[in-house]
């Protein structure tokens, strides 16, 4: 009994461990709060920081993609849809299971995992949940240079 009694008294005066994201208490009306946040009158408490290799939302460098469909074939939840006419892909984040298998398998490294994890939305097919193009990726191998990996990957199929 005394061990827990000691701990609770100590904790009474220590800072609580709860992370107060987004606000300390539930607001009277969430819409007003979000409106104020949009007008920068109120700042939300930041969420818990994520480590470097965190696997969050996918980023897709559309311009560099060769349309080899390896990612479409390997995706466990069939979250990547191939667009035959432009030979590009579209990724549905609502179905994605964040396993980063497509990132590993892509021969030209056009896919990468960002650190964004606030992905809630009312509509499965909303814009922020369907990744079509997220621009230049730091690590992606330029297609124009026809890197050796790309050739070796294509004759493997």
């Amino acid at each position: 009994m005394w061990e827990s009694a000691l701990t609770i008294i100590k904790q009474l005066f220590q800072k609580p461990a709860t992370n107060l994201f987004p606000a300390k208490y539930a607001p009277e009306s969430t819409l007003d709060l979000l409106a104020k946040v949009a007008k920068q009158e109120v700042a939300l408490n930041p969420p818990v920081t994520v480590p470097p290799h965190f696997r969050g939302k996918i980023a897709y460098d559309r311009q560099n993609c060769t349309g080899c469909q390896q990612c479409v074939r390997i995706c466990p939840t069939k979250a990547i849809e191939f667009l035959p006419e432009e030979r590009k892909v579209k990724i549905f984040i609502s179905r994605c299971c964040f396993c980063a298998q497509c990132v590993d398998v892509c021969p030209v490294h056009t896919l990468a995992m960002t650190e964004e994890f606030l992905l809630s939305s009312y509509d499965k097919f909303a814009d922020e949940l369907v990744v079509t193009d997220s621009g230049e990726l730091p690590g992606s191998v330029k297609r124009k240079a026809k890197s050796p990996e790309a050739e070796e990957a294509s004759e493997d199929e």
Partner: protein, 414 residues
């Protein structure tokens, strides 16, 4: 209402299918007489998701790893570990030693977080919410370590046929060591809170006893059987992966109390000591982890081709936090999916022992006695059905099937 013929009227009190204590989709029909539990009947199948069927029909083996990972929210290292071991035996893939060590580190980190999670839930079952919050706050440290090393708190996506997908680099090691030291420093306080608190002893001593004989006869596994004195532990008996190099000894309660009663209190002892054991195992693995590659076949197309041509069968047995977990896999040449995939989670077998544990208990003891086998229902249920239909012969498309089920629910409500 199971009314039996004795003059004393007993009535059935349903615990489940969704019960605030169990938080798991299982239905226990307790037949009680006053406050005494006379008989228990178990109903399963409320959350069956046809994982085996998907593995046999839709997914290629690599995709099935991520399916296996989602069999259970807490123990999501043991299922892919089993599947990977089984398929490697079937397709005869050799795993590099460094990968073996990283796999064991992942498994032991999961055991620490799973046991501490269970300790918190057990404290909540007996109404000791302060300890519940304290334990889950202590658990945050291991979750941060897992997130730092594997990228995600829960779904670690580290297992691959023939090794692991990411390496534990040199600069990640200090963060791991710092976390382990934190656990060593706080372990003494946790032990005192759980094992020396009068109210915990009052609620856990001589509650939910599983005698040695019954534990052997009912083939229970994991901490539940070790608490009854049976030294059954797959890491010790049939050492797989890097466990063969480490000398693991199955933990039984007589290490601390000198006697074995086989009740909830003993299960707390076994699980707490296993957390300490896991800490040592991780340190050993980090110390003598050999250098070298982490994946025998990094090229995915070639790996898929190798798996499709594989022929044979394999049995993967792993000591999950809740007990022995086994996957039986059979592969046929030319078939891209696994032709047979049998998953047996530890709770599946421990459930058989639940009636023996619960008989004679008071209702107040049922949640803690049942939670003491650390049930994980999502592991145990894995079959088929997603929608109801009235068995019509013609092909039913999605809309009509939906209309049928809506119509059926209306009938039930009337």
């Amino acid at each position: 209402m199971a009314v039996n013929n004795t003059e004393k009227t007993t009535y059935t009190i349903p615990v489940g299918p969704i019960h605030p204590a169990l938080k798991e989709p299982i239905q226990l029909d307790l037949e009680i007489d006053g406050e005494q539990v006379v008989d228990v009947d178990i109903h399963l199948g409320q959350v069956h998701r046809s994982i085996e069927w998907l593995g046999m029909n839709r997914n290629n083996p690599v995709q099935s790893i991520y399916l296996a990972e989602r069999i259970c929210g807490i123990c999501n290292v043991c299922h892919p570990f089993c599947l990977v071991l089984a398929v490697e035996q079937a397709a005869d893939i050799v795993v590099p030693e460094r990968a073996e060590y990283i796999r064991v580190i992942a498994a032991e980190m999961e055991r620490i977080h799973s046991h501490i999670l269970w300790a918190g839930v057990a404290a909540h079952e007996i109404g000791f919410d302060t300890v519940f919050y304290l334990t889950w706050r202590v658990r945050e440290e291991i979750m941060d370590m897992i997130e730092y090393v594997f990228g995600n708190r829960i779904t670690k996506a580290i297992y691959q046929f023939g090794g692991v997908r990411r390496d534990i680099t040199e600069e990640q090691i200090p963060r791991l060591k710092q976390g382990l030291d934190y656990y060593k420093s706080i372990f003494e306080q946790l032990r005192r809170i759980f094992l020396e608190d009068e109210t915990v002893k009052m609620r856990c001593r001589n509650v939910g006893i599983l005698p040695y004989e019954d534990a052997m006869k009912l083939v229970t596994v994991g901490p539940t059987v070790r608490a009854s004195g049976v030294p059954k532990d797959v890491r010790q008996d049939q050492a797989y992966s890097a466990y063969a190099d480490l000398d693991i000894k199955a933990i039984t309660p007589d290490v601390v109390t000198g006697t074995v009663v086989g009740d909830v209190y003993d299960r707390i002892i076994v699980r707490l000591l296993e957390v300490a054991q896991s800490i040592e195992i991780i340190e050993d693995c980090i110390k003598n982890m050999p250098e070298g590659p982490i994946l025998t076949e990094p090229k995915m197309p070639r790996l898929l081709k190798l798996l499709t041509d594989a022929e044979g069968e394999g049995v993967g047995r792993v000591e999950a936090p809740r007990g022995e977990d086994i996957h039986y896999v059979r592969m046929e040449a030319g078939v891209s999916t696994l032709s047979t995939w049998k998953v047996r989670a530890p709770t599946y077998i421990n459930l058989v022992a639940v009636p023996t544990i619960l008989k004679g208990m008071q209702i107040a003891d049922v949640p803690i006695a049942f939670a003491s086998i650390d049930p994980c229902m999502s592991c145990t249920n894995r079959a088929i059905i997603t929608d109801k239909a009235t068995g019509k012969k013609s092909v039913v498309d999605y809309e009509t099937m939906h209309r049928l089920s809506v119509q059926k629910t209306k009938e039930l409500q009337r």
